[in-house]
């Protein structure tokens, strides 16, 4: 069940009514949220629900065993065992097919024939997200940053439907206290939620879909049929498409949770105004990058060590972060590019600091150039993220450099305006438009109904027929 569909609208209205009607009664409220979340998840495939139940049970048992034990070695063994099983489940569904195909390809090239049977399990929707949340929960229990939750609370935490499909990756410490606390049914911040939902729908249904169908998909399907300018705009267009698609989904998720009285963390902070890659990863998919920082980069040693040691940690973190997105060499290359870029940036910063060089206050032009070049590098990496294969990615990249004799056929003024507008808006203050929301929320309710309906009509009219899945729901 995708967010911007009538099916989901009907589901959510019923879910909203049921959840709030039961909110004075904690246990029934939690059970209703859990039932609704499992129903939502089972809409894709009822078998998927068994998977999330299994991971919930595993995380719960692991957390309880660790909490009861005082022996550090015993606790560590339980932690490692729990994480190994969780990652094993993720690895089987997500990477088994990729590994067997590549091992067999290598074996055939060595004349050994096919060594392994082809395994292509169906990838459960959102498995990467709730597996990472389960891992963060058990690690936080191990570090005694959290008290173990009841099975019901933990189940709601992992399955809560607004974040279930594509994040944000919420920490136990952020969501569990809210699940345990009674919400105020009299004061729902509906206008802020409405702003987020409508903004998210506009980004996803209108902007992202438009760019996908008019420039990105045609160029990536047949790069050689298009000009260098088309290929270049496809790269820029994809940067805007994936931002609008993913941040649009996140906006909707945060808005829906807010309507249910739950507050999610921010997941995007104007990523295309980043001045370097380090800054970019502070602004893009914030909940994933903090997960990688806290549960992978810092345990590996973080930035405490020699240059090569830190470079290793950065590369491992970014490559695994790339692979988390999918089982394809293109994701590995995407992560690797960001890793190399961050290593170069880190080495430059540390060497300049060691040499006593004080970084000058950035001038306006220096700032603009930093933003510009960071964006170009990010777009280059996005080509690999979007491409269906390494060959496809290099075909697009090479067309940018070699296709200048071909006439551009896909670019239109509206497309240029769309891409430029989204990027330009990110250079402006983040909360522009909040005053308008305040004004609208203070008008009469029938006016708000009209405004809401017209905005919804505008979105559905401007958008294409049908709704494409969110890009990140595949992960």
């Amino acid at each position: 069940m995708l967010f911007p569909t009538i099916d989901f609208a009907i589901f959510f209205v019923l879910a909203f009514a049921l959840a709030w009607a039961l909110s004075p009664f904690p246990a029934p409220w939690k059970l209703s949220l859990l039932g609704l979340s499992y129903f939502f998840y089972g809409w894709w495939d009822p078998k998927f629900v068994l998977l999330i139940v299994a991971e919930t049970a595993l995380a719960h048992v692991g957390a309880r065993l660790m909490h009861r034990s005082e022996d550090p070695k015993h606790r560590k063994a339980i932690l490692i065992g729990t994480i190994a099983v969780l990652l094993g489940i993720l690895g089987y569904f997500k990477y088994a097919g990729f590994l067997t195909v590549n091992i067999d390809n290598l074996a055939r090239s060595l004349g050994l024939g096919n060594l392994l049977p082809l395994i292509q399990p169906t990838l459960p929707v959102a498995i990467s997200f709730f597996t990472f949340m389960a891992i963060s929960y058990v690690i936080d229990i191990y570090h005694r940053q959290l008290e173990p939750a009841t099975p019901l609370d933990l189940a709601v935490y992992l399955a809560f439907f607004p974040h279930l499909v594509a994040g944000p990756i919420v920490r136990g410490g952020e969501l569990l206290p809210q699940i345990r606390t009674r919400r105020d049914a009299r004061h729902i911040d509906y206008s802020r939620a409405g702003q987020l939902i409508l903004r998210g729908m506009f980004k996803k249904v209108v902007v992202s879909s438009y760019l996908a169908s008019h420039i990105v998909d045609p160029v990536f399907t047949s790069p050689k049929s298009h000009s260098a300018l088309d290929a270049l705009f496809a790269a820029w267009g994809y940067a805007v498409q994936i931002y609008c698609d993913f941040s649009g989904y996140t906006d909707i998720a945060i808005g829906l949770a807010l309507l249910l009285g739950i507050r999610f963390p921010v997941n995007f902070d104007q990523p295309y105004r980043a001045v370097n890659l380090q800054d970019f990863w502070r602004r893009w998919h914030i909940t994933l990058s903090r997960w990688l920082r806290d549960y992978l980069y810092i345990p590996l040693g973080g930035n405490r060590g020699s240059e090569s040691f830190v470079a290793r940690n950065i590369l491992i973190t970014m490559i695994l972060g790339g692979l988390w997105h999918g089982a394809n060499w293109t994701f590995l290359i995407w992560g690797g590019l960001h890793g190399v870029g961050q290593v170069v940036g880190h080495i430059r910063r540390t060497r300049r600091a060691a040499a006593g060089i004080i970084e000058p206050e950035p001038t306006r032009w220096r700032h603009i150039l930093s933003v510009f070049w960071t964006f170009q590098f990010v777009c280059l990496a996005w080509i690999f993220f979007r491409a269906t294969s390494v060959h496809n990615a290099f075909a697009v990249v090479s067309q940018i450099f070699t296709g200048w004799s071909v006439t551009s056929t896909l670019i239109s003024p509206l497309m240029i305006l769309t891409i430029a507008s989204v990027i330009a808006l990110q250079q402006l203050p983040a909360r522009l438009g909040d005053r308008l929301v305040v004004e609208i929320s203070n008008t009469r309710l029938w006016i708000q109904v009209g405004v809401g309906a017209l905005l919804l009509l505008a979105i559905t009219t401007l958008g294409p027929t049908g709704v494409a899945p969110f890009i990140y729901y595949r992960f």
């Binding site: 209205v13 909203f16 009514a17 709030w20 944000p168 952020e174 049914a185 009299r186 004061h187 729902i188 509906y190 802020r192 998909d217 045609p218 399907t221 047949s222 790069p223 049929s225 000009s227 945060i254 807010l258 507050r263 921010v266 380090q278 990863w281 502070r282 914030i286 990688l292 920082r293 980069y297 973080g302 930035n303 940690n313 950065i314 970014m318 961050q342 071909v406 006439t407 551009s408 056929t409 896909l410 909360r431 909040d434 005053r435 929301v437 305040v438 929320s441 203070n442 309710l445 708000q448 109904v449 309906a453 017209l454 919804l456 009509l457 559905t460 009219t461 401007l462 027929t465 049908g466």
Partner: protein, 195 residues
């Protein structure tokens, strides 16, 4: 990587209500200037918005329902949407949506009027947006005398499935160096309506 700031909760930076606003609406409550409501009122608001939107967008939704697979869902959708679309047409509410579709170059039901992808180096064939019955097509031998400077021109037509297949075919033809293919497809033709 660096020490990233922890994930932040939503930052509320809206403007607080003035004392006059508070006194004029004592039953209302605000969050950083934004009004808040009870869950029952929010529910009524959501249902009202969806209901109004349903009426405003009924003609497009009806078209989508008509081309959807046969089943209970389709039957229920049609049962709901036909009277709504009729009502909307009578009171001319749908003119708003139809006007927007016309401005966007779409049919009145929201389906695109044609999807032409031109290929480089090709003199674009002047296809009408609405194909007129009785238009004759010229058969040519596409590969006779084809060269990189004078490529053979091939027209790929179809519905949305044709668009999917045509993209890959276009790429393959382009790689020959002596063929320039034009893809002209139409999404949401309605030709596959199950009834």
């Amino acid at each position: 990587m660096s020490e990233l700031p922890p994930g932040e909760d939503l930052a509320d930076e809206g403007l607080p209500p003035t004392p006059e606003e508070r006194s004029s609406h004592p039953s209302m409550h605000w969050q950083q200037g934004r009004r808040t409501l009870s869950w029952i009122r929010v529910l009524a608001l959501m249902v009202s918005i969806l209901a109004v939107w349903l009426v405003l967008d009924s003609s497009t939704l009806l078209h989508n329902a008509e081309v959807s697979p046969v089943g209970t869902r389709r039957s229920l959708s049609l049962a709901l949407l036909r009277p709504l679309a009729s009502f909307a047409n009578v009171v001319q509410i749908t003119e708003l949506e139809k006007g927007a579709n016309r401005a966007l170059g779409r049919n009145a039901d929201g389906a695109p009027q044609g999807h032409v992808l031109k290929t480089a180096g090709l003199t674009v064939s002047t296809l009408p947006k609405h194909h007129t019955p009785g238009v004759t097509t010229t058969t040519i031998d596409p590969l006779k005398g084809a060269s990189p400077t004078s490529p053979a021109r091939i027209l790929l037509v179809g519905d949305s499935l044709g668009l999917d297949l045509g993209g890959s075919l276009q790429n393959s033809l382009a790689s020959t160096g002596i063929v320039a293919a034009t893809l002209d497809g139409k999404e949401s033709t309605g030709l596959t309506r199950p009834d």
